[in-house]
Subunit: 338 residues, 2 copies
DNA sequence: CTGAAAGCGCTTACAG
DNA sequence: CTGAAAGCGCTTACAG
C-alpha cells in the first residue's frame, strides 16, 4: 500500500498523512493519533527509497573494511554498539569490504557520488591518513574511530593509547621490571605509534634502557603474539615483562612463555590491552590477565551519537573525544624476579 | 550532477544514457563507450535512491543480529565473505541489531514493509524456526544459513553438523576412547541438535554408553568451555576425550585440562569444531588442535551467490546445499590412556 | 538504435 | 491545522 492509497482510505490528504507520520508539529494531535493507528492497523509504511529521493537523505551510514583481516572481533563489537544506537533513529549501516587502499578510496567515491550514505565511519587511521583528505574533498561527512592529523579539523573518538601503555609500563617498572617488551600493532597506524610513544616516554622517565629488540609489530593474532614472544625469550637478555596489544596476542605470548618453561606472573609478567570481548574474558584465563581496557562496544554507541549530531549540522570540531583507559590488576603481573 | 544534466552535457537523451549505464543490449557499442567514458570523466553516478524507486528494487539485503552476543567472530567472518560477493553486483548489506525474538520479527516486518531490502539472510535457526514462517508470510525472499523445518520449502546453506561429530567421535572411538564428552551449543539451535544426533548415533554404533553427564550446552565462549570441562573432570569417571563446539570453547577446555594437571593429547584428547578464523589457528596452539573444520567465510560468499540467484527468480528449492566438513588430525588427539 | 514522456512514492513550499 | 501540486532523479513501455 502506498501513501496515495492509504491517505484515501482514511480520508485525509497525502500531505497531512506524511506530516503526521514524520512527526511534524503542525498536525493536530488527534489527527496524528488517528493516522498512526490506521498505519499500524493497515500495515502502511512509507517506501524508504521514495522518502530518500524526496528528502535527499540516504538514511544510512557506511563502513568500509579492508580485507577479511580487518573485519575481526574488534569490528564486530564496535558495529554492535554503533548499530544499536543508530537503530533508534532508523539509520541503517551499510557494510562494504575491499582489498586494497585504492579500492577503499574508490568505495568512498562511489558511496558519495551515488548518495548511498549520509556519512561514513573511518577506522584504524594512519597518521595523516589519506582517507581523511579524500572525504573532506568529497564533502562526505565522516567520523574517525581513532586519531590522525589533517589540515582541516574533523570529528573523532579515540582512546588514550599513550596513557594506556604509560600506565602499564609504569606499573611494571614499579614492580621492579627493567626489561619490558612490547607487542605492538601495525606500525603505520596512529594507535600503534601512540602506544610506542607511551612506551618510550615511560621507559625514559624511569631511566630504563630502550632495547629495540624488545619491541615487535604485527597483526593482533595469537600466532604473531606467539612468535614475537618466542623471539623475545630467545634473546641473550630476555624480558621479565611484556605488554601485549590485544587479548589474541596475549594468548600467543602466554603460550610461548609456558613452552619456555616459565610461569606467567612469576617469571614473566604480562599486561594485555583488551577491548572487552564478551566471549574471551581476561578474568577467566589462568592466570587471570592484568589489562588496560576500553569498551569498544560503548565506543561504537558513542560514535553513533556523534554521527547523528554531525548530520544535524553540528561542527566536526565540536565532536572530538578521547577516552581514558581502565587499568585492572589481575594475576598475570608480579614483582620482577630477583 | 544528475541524469538530465549529464545527458544534456554529452548530447544524448536521458533514455539512452540510462540504458548505456545499465548495460542494456539495445545501445550501440560505440554510444555505450562514449557514455561510460564521459560518466567516468565528469564523475556522474546514478542516484541510488532514484534508481531504487524507479525499479522497485532495494539493491540491498538485510541481516539481523540478536544482541551483541550473536554478533561475534563467526558473524564477522561470514559477513566478510557475503559482502565480498555481493559487492561485485553492487548489492549493499544492511545490518540491524535487536535484543529479543519479538524485536527481530518486528525488524523483518519493518524491512519488508518499507522495502528497505530485497532479501534477508537468516542465521542460527532453531528447529521449525518461527522466523521462516514469518518471512514466507511477508513474501520477503530469504536464505537460511543453517537448517530448519517448515511447511513450505526454502533456500538454505548448512554444513554437515551430524557428519562432523560422527567423524570426530568415530575417530576418538577408534583410538580406544570410551568416555567421550561433548561441549555443545545452545540447545534450541538446529546445529546443536544435529551435533547431538551425530554424537548419539556414533556412540551407539560403537557400543559406547551415553552418559548425560558428559554432555554440556552453552555459549561458545572460553568461559563456558572452561566450566563445562572442569565439571566433566570432577566426575567419578571423567572422560578421556572431549569434542568442543568451537575454538573458544576448546581454549577454555584446554585450560581446565591443564589446571587439573593433565596433558592435552595424552591424558585427555580434544577435537574442536572450528570455523577457521584467521586470527586464531588450531595449528598454532600447543598442542596443535585436531579439528573438524568448515570455512565460514566461503559459506558467506556462497550465500551471496544464492541470494543473487534467488533475486533473479530461481526457485528456493533449487537453492539448498549441505557442505561436508573437513577433518584435520593434529596433536591434541591420541590413544586412550591405558 | 534512439527519444519524449509517464510513473515510481514520497516531501514540502505555497496557499488558504 | 489542512490540501493541491510540483519536484526529487531515475527507469521503461511505447513510438519511431
Amino acid at each position: 500500500m502506498n501513501l496515495k492509497e492509504f491517505a484515501a482510505r482514511i480520508g485525509l490528504s497525502q500531505t497531512t498523512v506524511s506530516r503526521a507520520m514524520s512527526g511534524y508539529p503542525e498536525v493536530r494531535p488527534e489527527t496524528r493519533r488517528r493516522v498512526l493507528e490506521a498505519a499500524e492497523k493497515l500495515g502502511y509504511r512509507p517506501n524508504i527509497s521514495a522518502q530518500r529521493l524526496a528528502t535527499g537523505r540516504a538514511g544510512a551510514i557506511g563502513m568500509v573494511f579492508q580485507g577479511g583481516g580487518r573485519f575481526g572481533p574488534h569490528s564486530s563489537e564496535f558495529m554492535g554498539g554503533l548499530s544499536t544506537r543508530l537503530q533508534e533513529d532508523g539509520i541503517d549501516i551499510l557494510v562494504s569490504t575491499v582489498e586494497t587502499e585504492a579500492e577503499e578510496a574508490a568505495a568512498y567515491r562511489r558511496l558519495a557520488a551515488s548518495k548511498r550514505v549520509d556519512a561514513v565511519v573511518v577506522h584504524t587511521p594512519a597518521c595523516a591518513d589519506a582517507r581523511i583528505a579524500l572525504l573532506q574533498t568529497l564533502a562526505l561527512p565522516f567520523i574517525v574511530h581513532g586519531r590522525s592529523t589533517a589540515e582541516r579539523s574533523f570529528a573523532f573518538l579515540d582512546i588514550d593509547n599513550f596513557g594506556a601503555i604509560e600506565t602499564a609500563a609504569g606499573y611494571l617498572a614499579d614492580l621492579g621490571h627493567r626489561r619490558i617488551a612490547l607487542i605492538n600493532g601495525d606500525t603505520t597506524s596512529t594507535y600503534a605509534q601512540d602506544r610506542s610513544s607511551g612506551y618510550r616516554t615511560t621507559l625514559e622517565a624511569r631511566g630504563l634502557i630502550l632495547d629495540p629488540a624488545l619491541v615487535g609489530h604485527g597483526e593482533f593474532t595469537d600466532e604473531t603474539g606467539f612468535r614475537l614472544m618466542q623471539a623475545f625469550l630467545a634473546l641473550p637478555a630476555p624480558p621479565t615483562a611484556v605488554i601485549a596489544g590485544s587479548m589474541m596476542s596475549a594468548l600467543g605470548a602466554m603460550r610461548a612463555i609456558r613452552i619456555a618453561g616459565l610461569a606467567v606472573g612469576a617469571d614473566v609478567s604480562l599486561i594485555a590491552h583488551d577491548d572487552v570481548f564478551p566471549y574471551l574474558s581476561p578474568d577467566n584465563l589462568v592466570p587471570s590477565v592484568t589489562t588496560t581496557q576500553s569498551p569498544i562496544r560503548a565506543a561504537g554507541e558513542r560514535i553513533g551519537d556523534m554521527v547523528l549530531r554531525l548530520l544535524q549540522g553540528e561542527a566536526p570540531e565540536a565532536l572530538q573525544e578521547i577516552w581514558p583507559v581502565d587499568f585492572r590488576i589481575r594475576g598475570s603481573t608480579g614483582p620482577a624476579p630477583a
